[in-house]
Structure formats: structure tokens, C-alpha cells
């Protein structure tokens, strides 16, 4: 009886795991297959024939292209800025001791837990009240505040492992504070910094809830364009745009794996050789 329930449990667990994985994968494959549909309209699965018409249509649509261009430019700009700000914050939090340090680090990570819609809404009110109307500047500032915490967190995590004595040794040997920082701490922490930058890039490319409030008719991101299209005309150009975004994500994950190693991102655990 014990054996029977045990193997039944094993089967149920395996079955649930397989169904879960299928649920996660199959819709994505569906979207990928449908993006090659040859029909002119959005018809039922499976498509009768394959073509690249939706990709051609996507790349000849000025609305989407503009969004793609703004998204890439915005992601690069805000990632550079948030990496600088985040690294400065993490380094000072890690190196110096002062009253209120814990509170400050909680404050710096707080944009992670404030719902992004609220951040977007409050920035819209604020920017309008000071008369900042340029769409691109508004987007850069909005993306800066939501991506900085990721950089701070990964950088802090990588700094914890670095012995302070290395830095002290450099200082004793006559290096200035900033030289010791650039020669010792930065190279040792570069994995965490790079991982943070990849996170920032990914979240900036993906964001809808902050961007939707801050766009103007000239500056909107690809996800905002896709959201508008999903609400007005649900056609398959969105499928081809999704496939493009999927490819970008996979490239970013590959980068993250090369930089930090996916096993290090998750950790192997204590009881794992």
C-alpha cells in the first residue's frame, strides 16, 4: 500500500510539472507559429499556409518602427544612467557606515514594491506641474527610477563578497581612495554591475505601466504601441513583434549567462555538489 501511494504521488507530481511546463510553453509557440500565418485575417489555428507577410507588414509600418527606435534608444540611455546612479549608491552603501544607512538602502530599493502604475501616475502629475512636456526626457526619467533598484541590488550582492582588506591594502600602499576604488573594487564587482545593467535593459524594454503615462504623440515605446494595437486591432503584426521581443529576451539571457552564469544567479545551494 505504501509503495502504491508513493508511486502514485510520484506520477501526480510529474504530471502536474509536465502540464505546468506545457502551459508555459505552448501559448508562446502558438504565437510564434501564428506569426507566420499566410492569411490576411486573424483566423483559427492551425494556419493553412506559411509566409512572412506579417513581418514585412511590421517592418513597413511607420508606427511600429518609430516605437522600436524609441524603445532601443530609451533602453540604452536609461540603462547607462541607472547603472551610474545604482553603482554610486551601492558602492557608498557598502563602503561607508553612517546612521540611517539601513533606512536609506530600504528607500533605494523601494521602487520595486511601489506598484508601477502609481509611479507612472505620480510622475505624470509632477512633470505636468513643472511643465516638463518633452516625451523622451519624461520616459528616460521614469525608466531611470524603476531600473535603478535592480542595479543597486545586484551590485550590492556582488560587493558583499569582496574583502574590505583588499581596499585597505591598496590604501596603505599609497593609492588614493578613488584609485583604489577603480583598480580594486570595480573590477571585482563587475559581474554584479553587468548583471544589473542587463536587468535594467530588460525591464526598460518591457515596461508598459510607467511608459503609458509618460508618452506623447512623438515619443512612444514599442510595448506602448503594441498595447494600443491590442486594444484597437488585434492582428498578427503583434505576433511578429512578440517574436522579435522574444529573440531580444533570449539574447539578453544568453548575455546574462555569459556574464554571471545562470547557476550563480540562482545559486546551487548548500547540499549540491
Amino acid at each position: 500500500m505504501k509503495r502504491f501511494t508513493d508511486s502514485l504521488l510520484g506520477l501526480v507530481v510529474l504530471g502536474v510539472s509536465i502540464i505546468t511546463v506545457l502551459f508555459l510553453v505552448i501559448p508562446l509557440l502558438m504565437a510564434a507559429v501564428m506569426s507566420f500565418d499566410s492569411r490576411e485575417y486573424l483566423g483559427q489555428f492551425p494556419p493553412p499556409g506559411l509566409s512572412t507577410r506579417w513581418y514585412t507588414s511590421f517592418f513597413s509600418d511607420a508606427y511600429y518602427l518609430k516605437g522600436l527606435k524609441v524603445s532601443l534608444l530609451l533602453a540604452l540611455t536609461s540603462t547607462c544612467l541607472s547603472t551610474m546612479v545604482g553603482v554610486a549608491a551601492a558602492f557608498t552603501l557598502d563602503r561607508y557606515r553612517f546612521p540611517g544607512r539601513e533606512v536609506l538602502s530600504a528607500f533605494f530599493l523601494s521602487p520595486l514594491i511601489v506598484p508601477h502604475v502609481i509611479i507612472g501616475f505620480s510622475l505624470l502629475l509632477f512633470f505636468s506641474s513643472i511643465g516638463l512636456l518633452d516625451g523622451f526626457v519624461r520616459l528616460v526619467l521614469g525608466h531611470l527610477i524603476i531600473t535603478v533598484p535592480y542595479v543597486i541590488r545586484t551590485t550590492l550582492a556582488s560587493l558583499v563578497g569582496i574583502r574590505k582588506s583588499f581596499m585597505e591594502a591598496a590604501l596603505i600602499l599609497g593609492a588614493t581612495e578613488s584609485r583604489a576604488m577603480w583598480k580594486i573594487t570595480v573590477p571585482l564587482a563587475k559581474t554584479g554591475i553587468a548583471a544589473g545593467a542587463v536587468f535594467a535593459l530588460a525591464y526598460s524594454l518591457d515596461d508598459v505601466s510607467v511608459s503609458l503615462f509618460l508618452t506623447d504623440p512623438n515619443f512612444y515605446t514599442l510595448p506602448v504601441a503594441m498595447t494600443n494595437m491590442m486594444r484597437s486591432q488585434f492582428d498578427l503584426r503583434i505576433a511578429s513583434a512578440s517574436v522579435l521581443l522574444m529573440i531580444m529576451t533570449i539574447v539578453l539571457i544568453w548575455l546574462l549567462d555569459r556574464i554571471a552564469g545562470l547557476d550563480n544567479v540562482v545559486g546551487q545551494g548548500v547540499y549540491h555538489k
Binding site: F45, R97, A202, M230, L245
Partner: protein
Amino acid sequence: MQTSATTLASDANVRPADAQSVRAPEPGAALTRTAVLLIGIVVAIYAVLMLYPLIRVFEDSFREFVPGRIGSQADAPFTLANYTDLLHPAYASYFWDTFRIGAIASCLGVALAFPLAYFVARRRSDWIRSVTLGFLITLMFLSVLIRVYAIELSFGPVGFARDIAALFGERAGSRFYIQFMVVLGLLHYVVPMSALVLIGTIQNINPRLIEAAQALGAAVWKAHVKVTLPLAARGLLSAFLVSFTLSISAFVIPMVLGRGKIAFVSNLIYNRFSELANFPSGSAVAMVMLVISMTIIFAVSRLASSSRFDGAPR
């Protein structure tokens, strides 16, 4: 993504030990002028881009609504009307839908993620483990738009799975089926995230404990219920916390999959801005939501770090 709460907790675990040890090997330096300058710049950025805008929203939420401008008029009279309006049942249902559907999706998500996480955590370092890990991390990063679109294509009117509605005895456009779609959308988000949190937890449970329980005569299921689950309690709770926080602040998922029949509080905030341009009312909704979600996060992270979840068998 881990909760910042757990990160902060682990951070706090490292530091006091440093400070308290007798020889204080890693004391950290006293502030220099450059450091003060750097911290000052970062604090200023946060104050301008987060703190001050939130204070403005707080102030705006007490102003009387004057149509036709972004933000309230500077001299508009103060009022509590924006909050009392929210007591109307029509508004309460937005909050009810958000927290109810969010809770359903988070519970289901953690339950589905646990077996998956267990499978990955107990694998040796082979290709199956790396592929599954890479897959989960990719899913975590995947744009929410792709998920929403893929689920709409698969389970919506043209999808291969459209007949699922009939299984429940429902039409594809019914409120129940739309809720089901929103839950699916949230699950697609929450399952990979919970699995990654749980992998970390399960990896740190000594596998010998299960072997010991079995050697002493427990059935496998009993060994897991009595040993693995209690030891993973903290991880389960923090996976739930992450999932719930993400679910209740979801925006695109209910907006697209909810088709106007199901809307979350975040959609309500956006509609106040895009359809009515009623900023004071939107501000009041935002404030209520902020307070509720902060309270939940605080309560659950206090619970997760309390000694009841130490996991030590007693």
C-alpha cells in the same frame, strides 16, 4: 526576482555580525566628502523622481476636482469627497476583484511551482537542470505583452484551447471565462517567479532528512508533508508574497485579457487619467492602493522573518 524584503533581511544578517565581532575585521569607513556628495546626488534623484511626486499625489487626493487640467488647481479647496466616493459599491468591486483574483493566482502559482522547483533543485548539474533553469529565467524576463498576446491567441476565440470554456459550461465571453483568462495570464507570470524563489529554498534543505524519514518508515508523501513542507515554509511564504505583490499591481494583463469586464485597481487609476482626466480621484485610488499593498508586504515579510518559520523541526 526576489522580494527586496528578503534581500534586506539577508543583508541585515551579514552586517551586524561584522559590526559585533570583537576585532571588527570589516568595519567600513567613515564618510568622506565625496561619499556624502555621491549619496546626496542619489537621494536627490529619488526625492525628485519618487518621494515628491508621491507627496503631490497625496495632496492632490484631497483637492476638489476641477475638469480640464492635469493635476488639481493649486488653490482648489480641500475635500474628502475623493475618498468617500470610493466607498460606493462600484469602486469596492475593483478592489475586491484585484485582491480575490490576485490571491487565487498566487496560491495556484505557488502550488504549481513547487513540484517544478523540487524537480530542478534535486537534479545534479546536468543539461536538463541548465535547460530548465535557463527556461525559467527567460520566462521571468519575457515581456508581459508576449504572454498576454500568446494567451489570448491560445485560449481566446480563435485559439486551439477555446473549447475549454465549454468544459466549464460557459460561453467564451462570459465573466467567469474572462476571469479564468486573467488568472491564466497572471499564472504565466507568477509560476516561473515562484519556481525560482523555491529552487533556492529547496536546495538548502538537506536531502538526507527525507532519506532519514523514509528509513524510519515514513511513506514518501508523509516524509514530504512532515519534513520538506515545514522546512520550505519560509520560501513558500516569500514566493507567495512576491506573486501576490506582482499580481495585485498587474496592469497589462487585466487590461487586455479582462476585455473591460474585469479590471484591476491599476486599470481604474489609468482610466481616471485617460478617460475622465479626473486626477484628484485617481490620486485617491492610488493612495488607497499604495497603503493596502504596503501593509500586505510589510505584514507578510514580518511573518516570513518571524521565528515561527525557522523551519527547525520541534
